[in-house]
Symmetry: C5
Amino acid sequence: MKKSIKKRSATVGLPPGEVVFVGQQKTDKVRITLFDYDEKKYQEKELKTVEECYPFKDKPSVTWINIDGLEDTQIIEQIDSHFEIHPLVLEDIVNTEQRPKLDDYEDYLFIVVKMLYSDDQSQDIRSEHVSLIVGQNYVISFQESSGGDIFNPIRDRIRNDKGRIRKMGADYLAYALIDTIVDNYFLALESLAEEIDLIETELMADADIATFRKIHALKRDMLFLHKAIWPLREVISGLLRTESQLIRKPTNIFLRDAYDHSIQVIDTVETFRDMLSGMLDVYMSVISNRMNEVMKFLTIISTIFIPLTFIAGIYGMNFKYMPELETHWGYFIILGIMLLCALAMYSFFKARKWI
Amino acid sequence: MKKSIKKRSATVGLPPGEVVFVGQQKTDKVRITLFDYDEKKYQEKELKTVEECYPFKDKPSVTWINIDGLEDTQIIEQIDSHFEIHPLVLEDIVNTEQRPKLDDYEDYLFIVVKMLYSDDQSQDIRSEHVSLIVGQNYVISFQESSGGDIFNPIRDRIRNDKGRIRKMGADYLAYALIDTIVDNYFLALESLAEEIDLIETELMADADIATFRKIHALKRDMLFLHKAIWPLREVISGLLRTESQLIRKPTNIFLRDAYDHSIQVIDTVETFRDMLSGMLDVYMSVISNRMNEVMKFLTIISTIFIPLTFIAGIYGMNFKYMPELETHWGYFIILGIMLLCALAMYSFFKARKWI
Amino acid sequence: MKKSIKKRSATVGLPPGEVVFVGQQKTDKVRITLFDYDEKKYQEKELKTVEECYPFKDKPSVTWINIDGLEDTQIIEQIDSHFEIHPLVLEDIVNTEQRPKLDDYEDYLFIVVKMLYSDDQSQDIRSEHVSLIVGQNYVISFQESSGGDIFNPIRDRIRNDKGRIRKMGADYLAYALIDTIVDNYFLALESLAEEIDLIETELMADADIATFRKIHALKRDMLFLHKAIWPLREVISGLLRTESQLIRKPTNIFLRDAYDHSIQVIDTVETFRDMLSGMLDVYMSVISNRMNEVMKFLTIISTIFIPLTFIAGIYGMNFKYMPELETHWGYFIILGIMLLCALAMYSFFKARKWI
Amino acid sequence: MKKSIKKRSATVGLPPGEVVFVGQQKTDKVRITLFDYDEKKYQEKELKTVEECYPFKDKPSVTWINIDGLEDTQIIEQIDSHFEIHPLVLEDIVNTEQRPKLDDYEDYLFIVVKMLYSDDQSQDIRSEHVSLIVGQNYVISFQESSGGDIFNPIRDRIRNDKGRIRKMGADYLAYALIDTIVDNYFLALESLAEEIDLIETELMADADIATFRKIHALKRDMLFLHKAIWPLREVISGLLRTESQLIRKPTNIFLRDAYDHSIQVIDTVETFRDMLSGMLDVYMSVISNRMNEVMKFLTIISTIFIPLTFIAGIYGMNFKYMPELETHWGYFIILGIMLLCALAMYSFFKARKWI
Amino acid sequence: MKKSIKKRSATVGLPPGEVVFVGQQKTDKVRITLFDYDEKKYQEKELKTVEECYPFKDKPSVTWINIDGLEDTQIIEQIDSHFEIHPLVLEDIVNTEQRPKLDDYEDYLFIVVKMLYSDDQSQDIRSEHVSLIVGQNYVISFQESSGGDIFNPIRDRIRNDKGRIRKMGADYLAYALIDTIVDNYFLALESLAEEIDLIETELMADADIATFRKIHALKRDMLFLHKAIWPLREVISGLLRTESQLIRKPTNIFLRDAYDHSIQVIDTVETFRDMLSGMLDVYMSVISNRMNEVMKFLTIISTIFIPLTFIAGIYGMNFKYMPELETHWGYFIILGIMLLCALAMYSFFKARKWI
């Protein structure tokens, strides 16, 4: 959190539209790939220089320019000035702390979303800042890194003309990218669900303060997921309700589907939050139940032995004249009385259901 | 939960409209039944092949095709391609994790709801994914299994021309199906109400950590019920407010009634949630009250005997010169003092209302 | 709760509009009374058969038919078929679990409300299902029983031409009935306020688990009151905003007043809920405060006497060579040391403000 | 609370518009004062009889009739019948339990607000029921008593032609009255803020159950303040948005200002509520922290002395053959061992940071 | 809090628009600076008298008058009367307790915001009242003091013609000022984030009541931040949606950006609040966990030694006839039994996982 605030504050006082990269460097080199396709043909290339993509701007075919890595702000500025993008957009592309949003600039839509993907090695969930510029016949996508290559299935669908992607326009491509991102949320949620399951098992067996810390950490994760997903829903709902000519009617049905998925993600996150709250209750109850058992045991031992010790104390006194001490069976009678006392206590506890 | 997420993630990366069955197989064989009726006559048959239902599409009479079992995605694709259904609809029919929703495709309405029915053998409440396609003069319903046959009363009403079902159109049939599903929620709620009553009795008698776990489990059930029922209400309210020509005005009055019922279900679930929260409070209070009693008992025993034991300890000391020890009545005087001490303590506790 | 769910489930699977009485029988015999009045004259009679009210339907004067008792569904069906009432209305009239609502059927309005009145004998608060059908020049009211006769003041106002009731139409009569019902909520709230006051006094004096149970029971009562009153507010607000010709403008001012009262009832219930929550806090605090006092007392007694008993224990040891034991003043010196110890402890507690 | 409900229930069953005074009598005599002014002249008099104000009704100058005391309902009825006020208005003027509201009767606006003022003698905050009838060129104000004379500054402004009051109409006078009432809320809040400050100091020093009761009492005060202020905001916002001709445009800017103030009052009350909730948390934490210290002290004393007492007990046994007892240095060695035990325990506690 | 209420109450009873400075005096002298610029030239001067700024009013170039210090209400009145500002605006400029708001006076917009900046010396966060009057070609800004000179970067941008500020109108200048204020919120949040981080570390190591007080203090800070920021968002959103001609379309895109930032601030504050609530939970859990450990230790020590002490007590009794005492190995056998007892207890605790 602190870090993200610090990054944000690096730009305080600068005029709006100043392009300052505030993220961590995640790639060695900025990588620009280009897809250009229509129903009949497609073309794929990796660009060395930015200038190579200029001729595609006015082609009627759909052009998808994907930029991996945001460090080289100059490349981004070059692309954007060629595509006549507003400087404020540049600022938000490189500001990895920008929350998801949809801005309508008439000639193009600017979309910011957060991509969640699970790192294959560390099993951790990583978040990545993704921006889309959706024009009449082009989509420019900016990623912090190659993002676990979650866009590869879409690339395959373009290459193999699978589904309807080649038959439709840039708006459908934008939808496909967003839908893939939303779909990947389910993978992240799956790994969280597994963690929740593990903690549930722990709660049944031997909950301790470590269990509590795990629940608390997950609750905080949910806080940040919540913060990423709610504005995403607004973005998709904004695309659904937009009056912009850039989103054509056939794409709308698909956006409705993506919207549906985003709601399912939100639903799941909310359910997880409620479940974690419930688990905190269970944890508290388990801990207090265990403590109560310990305390009850102390009570029983104490209350049984304290009076007995007192009786023993009495006959340990050194008074000259203590008639009981002189009797032959005195010792055994007192032992018997002690036993009766202990049994009485025990029955009392049983009757009160304290044991 | 985890399972449902996992299922959902199986389709990540596929193009939209890909038909993948993600549920558990619940039926041996897909079963297709067909009803065709108007005010004067009715026809009922069980179909061997999908093609048998094709001729009914353009008949003016109302046709109800019911498919039990979603495993055989090919059959579903066949039906849907004949009835010109959008591929996204297919995806949602077989995706048993899809939340309830209403989509208007102009030529037909697509409705997803969750059926709750109580299993006759295990007394458990089962949830089942039900999809309806409502066209001008046909309704196609998809169920995971025969679903406890909760639609049988409707079949009887068609057969016996009971009520107004034969006099009205496909929209009324759709209403009748949804209303039956909503009505069955009350049966599920009844069994939950019984469980709540049992726990209430437990709370009065001998609450322990098991009671807590039961309350907690019910609270979680409510979470999932809540998740199923709220979107259902939106579905019915969507049908009420739709501008689609498929829902005629006379059916609207009945939909208003079903909407009313769905609100009553929500009301009951919310009341149950509030009651369970209240019961958690009672549980906590009962447990802490019992613990307090145990602790108070310990206090009383300890504080009465600790000073007495100390007095006995004093006269157990082996000092050469302890004048009291030599007196004849010393022992009895000390016993008397101890008794007075105990009585003083006891009165003190009584005065403070600790006993 | 369970009971109300069970009743509801009795009608599952029946076609809509099936008239099944689900309440408890509260009257021996259904009683039908009729008032017919205009500015100049009025007529009052108790009907033996339903048919007697038929001629009043088309009279220009205002007709109020009141039916006490819902068991005899046939009578209700007769009246309704004569007045051309929709079958769904019949279903809701006899379904005593129906929540308050307002349905506009163009020729008439159908209103369901809950009447609360306090039973004169048992001091309990009773709830009763009341339905009103408001036509152009008639009002038909259905009650479970004679309902503590809370409508009697209105009858008197008609008989004695008091206020403006004789000068106005059926809509004003409907308003008067609803307003009387809302006014009776204040009587119910008054008895609850008394209970709350009693518990407050208990909280100051000697709160125990019984106090907690009383607070909890009242909280649950509030839950059900809340459920009855919120939809009532919507009913009145619906009447205010309705475009139906049946509610004339002069009546609107009075409905606004009734709406105001319903909001005051809701306000009071909400305030009661907040007060009860606050009282739970007080209860918890009082109980924990008392427990803390008990625990502190134990601590003081224990920590004072445990070291003393240890000292006594030392000089109770039977070592051959213990020089202190031989000295003449040893015993008294040790007693002095013990006293000093006790005083030191006591001052320590005082300093820490534990006493 | 109970009292206010009881008062309300006194009018149950009466026809609407029945004028029944339900408040406490606060004045000896109803006092009627009249101001009549325009830009050039002003006139002020105290009326003996109601009739004296009749001639002012149709004068073009602004007339302000102020009635202190609501007991004499006849006077109020007289005034209202002369000014052609709806009977429901009369009912609300004398019903001191009526919540703040704004009713538009076309020829006049009817406004109910609650005045809060601090009693100079008792330092208590008093609430008073104030009603305003705002016509084209007159304002009639009804107060329970002279209300701490909070309207005196306005009277002075009229007398001395200070500010713009003499230049503007009846709507501005109504605004001035409401604004004065809102301004007086700040005085009430100030005294509450002082109480909160006192409790904060207590929380730092020596919180006990009395502190808790004070916090709880303030929380309840906030509940009632909240109930008085929220509808007040709606009243002012209603005046801002009204389409009534009675509120002229120049006054609107001032009403916006009053609205702003009402929001600031609400903000402050909400902040107080949050602060009080936070203070409850602090109280709980302080109490539990102190309890924990007490318990830790008990633990340390007990765990140090219990084993030592046991050792002493062993050598207090009377066995014939106990070799240690015979050794010359046995006693001192055992004393040494005891000291070591105590030190070990002490270090253990230190290491665990329990001391 | 109390102070702010007291200040507010100083103006009770005054006619609206009365100019009373209620803040603390923060500057020695009111300082008036003036910028006048268009695309080609700019002019900067510090004014000695108010009259110097009069000629700039009707110049077509953009004029920015900045007043530091609000004590000298006469200067403010002079400026405002020359610029024909409504008296209510004056009242709000000097009322430092006024909450953020936007008022549209047709000829100019009046904006109140709160500036947060961190004091360089004390590291504290300071709040300052800032008002803007935005006319066709002028902006007048009022600050309590020079406010950490957070406007200096804007002055530099004007001087050096950096960004687009010189090319755009007064509305863009107003945006730039507001945006700078919002940006400075991030700096304040950064310092809060650091405090939160410190407390988190404390929670892991050694939480005590001081940690709790820090969390509680931060929670209260959040309360006041929340109160300052929410209305700020409304102000910017009001500027976005205003129909006023004063805000031109190109500026709108920038305002949307500022709105975005304000939402990010709110998001962060809300996240901080949730985090602090979570930290309170952790604190409670850590404290109770530590307490439980202490209690368990007491239990173990007590329950092991209490029975042993009892056994020792038995053989300390002075009965004449106690056969065990006479046996040669009796002492060692009893010691052995005691050891067995202790081991049994220890295993019991281990088995129950209490150790």
